[in-house]
Each structure stands twice: as structure tokens, then as C-alpha cells.
């Protein structure tokens, strides 16, 4: 489509308006960044203070005194575990769903779609009962498997649509040359699938990294991930705790900013994957 207006004024309005809009959209995070570098008295001052002395106290308090690095490491373990299991299990299934033509495949895909819509909290009462009975409630391994399972329907659908873009001829050629299915999958299909795997991996990452509901319910204090630790500042009455929560909010967002900066193209591709086909 051509630019809306061709005049210089129209162009200026367009850029300024959109710029202002995007700035407003980023304001909550930007302001959190600003006040995370202030003392409480300046951060929530009345009347408002645009400029105030900077300090790193909140970050020091968070990372050193409150040992936020423990939460950071927990998040790294949970996220890395969830993404890698999710992708390996999902690739096998996504490939099968893209190549199998029978009725069973269709029905399982529909069931997966239904599972994708399940509100996560509805699973929690049963999780408590089952995990308590088995004695595996407060375990990172359990949390990882739960996150993988929750994410599996979405992963399968997305990977399947990427696998469908790879022509069948490729597998057929490999099969004719004497490969087994699994060899064809490993040696021929996966090497050309990396863009799809990367995109799906990003979304698995976001789900595991951002999860609060399941992580807060299924882990104890020592295993808290970053969102859960920050979520504890919801009710923070003490000024120190509150300001450390602000610093935590900025800390957890930095990796996400890097993610957008480096993988914008893949994020966009992933978001439009299901839509443009439909």
C-alpha cells in the first residue's frame, strides 16, 4: 500500500503520532526503569519529581541481600528444561502430524486444540492431589514436565505447520535411498527445519519464562522462579521490598528486550503462522 498522505505534514503526523503511541505503550516499563534507579522517597514522590538522584541500592538489595540470583538460576533451569524437552518431543509429534494422513491424526489435532484452551488453574487441584500422592509436588522436574505438557498443543500445531512447508519429496527421496523413517527425520528433515524450530522455541521460552500461575502453585520458596519472586511484592508494604520489586521487574524484562531486538523477525513469523494460512 502507498503511504497514506503524500504531503510532508501528513508524514510528520504519521511518524509523530505513531511514535507517541509506541512511547505510551512502553511507558509502564520505561517508568519502572526510571524509578528502579531511585530511592523510595523520589520514586513515589508527591508532587511528582521528574529528576532525582540516581542510585543502585534497589538492585544491590535485590541481587545481593535478597539473593535474586537464586531465582534467576531457577528460572534458567526451568526455562531451559521446558524449552528443550518441549522441542524434542514436539518435533517428533509435529513431523508425524504433518506426514500422517489418517483420521487419528485429525482427531488428535482437534483434541490438542481443545487442550490449548484449558485455563491452567483448572488443572491445579488434580495436580496437587496427584503430585502429593506420588511425592513429587515441590520439584523443578515436575514443574518442567507440567510446563511442557501445557505448551505441547501449541507447539505441535506450530511445528506441524512448519513441517508442512517442507515438501514430501524430500522424505520420499531419503526413504527410497534406504533410510528408515527416523533416519530420514534426523538427517534430512531436521537440518532444514531450524528456522521453524527457532521460532517455536521462542514461544516455548516465553511461556516458561513468563509463567506465574503454575510456577507459584507448584514450587516452594527455594525453587521460586523470577516471576514468582517478583509476584511476592504484590503485597509488599515495606518500602524496601517494594523498590526491590521494581528493580526485579526491570531485571526480568531485560532478557525479553534482548529477545525482541534479536528475534523480531521470528516472533512476527510465529505470530502470523496460524493466521495467514487460515
Amino acid at each position: 500500500m502507498k503511504p497514506l498522505g503524500s504531503g510532508r505534514f501528513a508524514a510528520l503526523t504519521l511518524y509523530a503520532g505513531t511514535g507517541l503511541w509506541v512511547l505510551l505503550a512502553c511507558l509502564p516499563i520505561l517508568w519502572a526503569l526510571v524509578i528502579s534507579l531511585r530511592h523510595y522517597v523520589d520514586a513515589f514522590a508527591s508532587p511528582l519529581r521528574w529528576f532525582a538522584p540516581l542510585t543502585l541500592d534497589n538492585y544491590r538489595g535485590l541481587w545481593v541481600e535478597r539473593e535474586f540470583y537464586v531465582n534467576f538460576l531457577n528460572s534458567v533451569i526451568v526455562t531451559a528444561g521446558a524449552v528443550s524437552v518441549s522441542l524434542s518431543v514436539g518435533c517428533l509429534a509435529g513431523y508425524a502430524f504433518s506426514r500422517y494422513r489418517g483420521n487419528a491424526g485429525f482427531w488428535l489435532l482437534i483434541v490438542a486444540l481443545v487442550f490449548r484452551a484449558i485455563p491452567h488453574s483448572t488443572l491445579l487441584p488434580s495436580f496437587f492431589l496427584i503430585f502429593d500422592t506420588l511425592g513429587i509436588r515441590n520439584s523443578m522436574f515436575t514443574l518442567i514436565l507440567v510446563l511442557v505438557a501445557i505448551n505441547q498443543p501449541f507447539t505441535i500445531w506450530m511445528l506441524r505447520s512448519f513441517f508442512m512447508n517442507i515438501p514430501n519429496d524430500l522424505d520420499d527421496a531419503a526413504l527410497v535411498d534406504g533410510c528408515s523413517r527416523i533416519q530420514a527425520f534426523r538427517k534430512v528433515i531436521i537440518p532444514v527445519m531450524w528456522p521453524g524450530i527457532l521460532t517455536t522455541g521462542l514461544f516455548s521460552f516465553l511461556l516458561a519464562y513468563n509463567d506465574f500461575l503454575l510456577s507459584s502453585a507448584l514450587t516452594n520458596v527455594e525453587m521460586m522462579t523470577m516471576p514468582v519472586a517478583i509476584g511476592n511484592s504484590i503485597n509488599a508494604e515495606s518500602e524496601r521490598l517494594l523498590m526491590q520489586g521494581v528493580a526485579g521487574a526491570v531485571s526480568i524484562s531485560l532478557p525479553l528486550l534482548l529477545l525482541i531486538a534479536f528475534f523480531q523477525r521470528q516472533l512476527v513469523a510465529g505470530l502470523t503462522q496460524g493466521a495467514v494460512k487460515g
Partner: protein, 339 residues
């Protein structure tokens, strides 16, 4: 691909989804019509105090051979359900004696229709956010699409931020802006608007809705933006030659082309909005409004009653089942068409 290798390839997924999704769902149904409590025995103990020895009768939880408390489970039928939707008051209900005193936030006053209250706010949230998400997403897509190609990347990245941010953190950041001594609340106060944003129901609910629009609009934007890349150029040129104005081109060429995407975004958003949880937790603490997903979470973790929580969960699932019908029909047609 033959059925055997299909089953082999999908076995890990099917195992995971059966064990951690299907089985727990079935268990939820069972839990929701039962109630268990530890079994207590009356025991007589000898106590010796400064006034001499005496006998005392007290309760003690019965333990099994492994040292776990023995639980007595009984079938309570639909009494939790009845309670949640306001049929059968708590005084006469069978579950009344089993039910623990709910915190005032959720089970306040005489009304026990907590689920209906949660459902009505969830539906309000869906109805209030969907049109704005579509509108803002569309406007942003049209604006950025009209920009110079080189400027687009930056704007796309920046507008994606609310979408990828951790929901709990995003809601907290908005809360910090709207505290009485926060940035936006003070700017509004300068403009003459004095509101304690988290102090009453309507403004707290407004914040939750605002959060929803803020968080989901980027998704709509990206989908529409992708759709705009495939608008038929020759139709647009023909319209220009015929003397169509910019608005007419938008109305008669671009929007009809994007119509399926608008349906798609609405369906996905409705499904996701039904699960709204974090902003409700952060911005209202459940004091003024609860969403269906919040209700289950609260009853489970705060009231510590997995049986009652299961009933809330089943009611929640019933709602999503109804909402899912149009999406399933759409997918059905598509996939059958492909096969």
C-alpha cells in the same frame, strides 16, 4: 506415513498430554463431587498439672501404617456447584459443614454466587477488550504499514514489548503508574481527575481492562500487519484509477481482505481473555472483581479446599467449552478442506 510409525513418533507427546492434561481433567470431575477430611479419633489422655492428675478427652488425627493421616471421603454430589451459582444457600446446603469460612473477598455477605460474579466480570472483560484490541491493532498496522520500509523495524520491535513482557510484571508496572503517588495518577490529578484507582470496583476493573487492551493489541497488530502485506495491489491501483478516496479504498478493498484475520484474532483473543488471571491478582487482589481462573486459584491456595476448587474448575471448563465451539467449527472446516 503408516499408522505404526505415526504412533511411534507421537508416543512421547501423547504420554505427556494423557498423564498431565487428560488424566488431571478427569480427576477434577471426580474431586468436584467429593469432599475429604482427615478422620479424627476421640482419645482420653492423662494430664498431670499443679492441681493433680486429671483425664482429658481430645481429638487426634488417625494415622495409617505409613504415618499419613487417614482421610474420610464422601460423595457430596453437586452441592459445591449449587453453592457457586447461588442455588441452595450455605445454611441448608450439604456442603455447608464441610466448607471452610471463605475470606470476605470471595464469599462476601449472604450471596454465595461467587462463580457467577467471577463469570460476569470475565465476560465483561472479554466484551470490553475485544473491540479495542481489534481497533488499536488495526490502526497501528495501517500506520506502520504506511511508513518508510526502513523505519518499520524499530516501531514493530517497540510495539511488541507489552506482548512479550511477563504478565505479572506488566500488571505490576501498570499498578505502580496508578498508585496514588504514581506517575499517571498524579498527572491525572493535575488535570483535575482525582481517583483512587485501586480503591473502588469500577476503577480497578477499568485498570484490568486497560491492561488487557495494552497487552494484546500488539498481537492483533502483527497479524493485521502481515495481512496487509498481501493486499492485492492491482485492485488498489484500479480503485485509485476509478477515483476512490483513501477511506473508500480502506473500506472496500483493505478491510474485506482482512476480514478473516479479524475473525481469527477475535476468536484467539476471546479464548485467551477467558483465562485472564494476573491483572486481576495484581490490580484488584480479588477484592473488587474475580475472574473464573482467579476463583479456582484462590479457593485452592487460600481456602485450601481442592474439592471446592475442582467444582469451580469444572464450571470454568463448561464456559470454555461453549466459547470453543465457533473456533472448533472453523478449524474443522479448514482441516477437512486440506485433507
Amino acid at each position: 506415513m503408516r499408522l505404526r510409525s505415526f504412533l511411534l513418533f507421537t508416543a512421547p507427546t501423547l504420554l505427556l498430554m494423557t498423564a498431565l492434561l487428560a488424566l488431571p481433567l478427569a480427576t477434577t470431575f471426580w474431586l468436584s463431587v467429593h469432599s475429604c477430611a482427615p478422620q479424627f479419633d476421640l482419645v482420653t489422655v492423662q494430664q498431670s498439672g499443679p492441681f493433680g492428675p486429671r483425664e482429658l478427652t481430645t481429638q487426634r488425627a488417625r494415622l495409617d501404617s505409613r504415618g499419613h493421616p487417614v482421610e474420610n471421603c464422601k460423595f457430596v454430589g453437586l452441592s459445591y456447584y449449587a453453592n457457586f451459582i447461588g442455588l441452595g444457600g450455605s445454611a441448608s446446603g450439604q456442603a455447608a459443614d464441610l466448607q471452610q469460612a471463605g475470606a470476605p473477598e470471595v464469599a462476601s455477605g449472604t450471596s454465595n454466587r461467587v462463580f457467577l460474579a467471577a463469570l460476569s466480570f470475565t465476560l465483561l472483560y472479554i466484551a470490553a477488550t475485544t473491540p479495542f484490541v481489534i481497533f488499536f491493532g488495526m490502526t497501528l498496522a495501517l500506520c506502520i504499514n504506511a511508513m518508510h520500509r526502513r523505519a518499520r523495524g524499530f516501531f514493530i520491535s517497540a510495539s511488541l514489548l507489552p506482548f512479550v513482557i511477563t504478565p505479572v510484571v506488566g500488571a505490576l508496572c501498570i499498578k505502580w503508574l496508578f498508585r496514588d503517588d504514581g506517575l499517571v495518577a498524579q498527572l491525572l490529578a493535575i488535570g483535575g481527575v482525582h481517583i483512587y484507582w485501586m480503591g473502588q470496583a469500577w476503577s480497578a476493573q477499568l485498570l484490568v481492562i486497560l491492561y488487557g487492551i495494552w497487552q494484546v493489541s500488539p498481537f492483533a497488530f502483527i497479524v493485521f500487519y502481515a495481512g496487509l502485506q498481501s493486499v492485492p495491489q492491482d485492485t488498489l491501483e484500479a480503485a485509485t484509477l476509478d477515483g476512490a478516496s483513501g477511506w473508500q479504498k480502506l473500506r472496500y478493498v483493505v478491510l474485506p481482505h482482512l476480514a478473516p484475520l479479524i475473525v481469527f484474532v477475535s476468536l484467539i483473543h476471546i479464548m485467551d481473555a477467558y483465562r485472564v488471571f494476573e491483572p486481576v491478582l495484581v490490580l484488584t487482589k480479588g477484592a473488587f472483581s474475580t475472574s473464573v481462573q482467579y476463583l479456582t486459584y484462590y479457593v485452592l491456595l487460600q481456602e485450601n479446599n481442592p474439592y471446592k476448587a475442582s467444582a469451580a474448575a469444572v464450571l470454568t471448563l463448561t464456559g470454555i467449552a461453549i466459547l470453543l465451539v465457533p473456533l472448533l467449527r472453523r478449524t474443522w472446516r479448514e482441516q477437512r478442506g486440506l485433507a
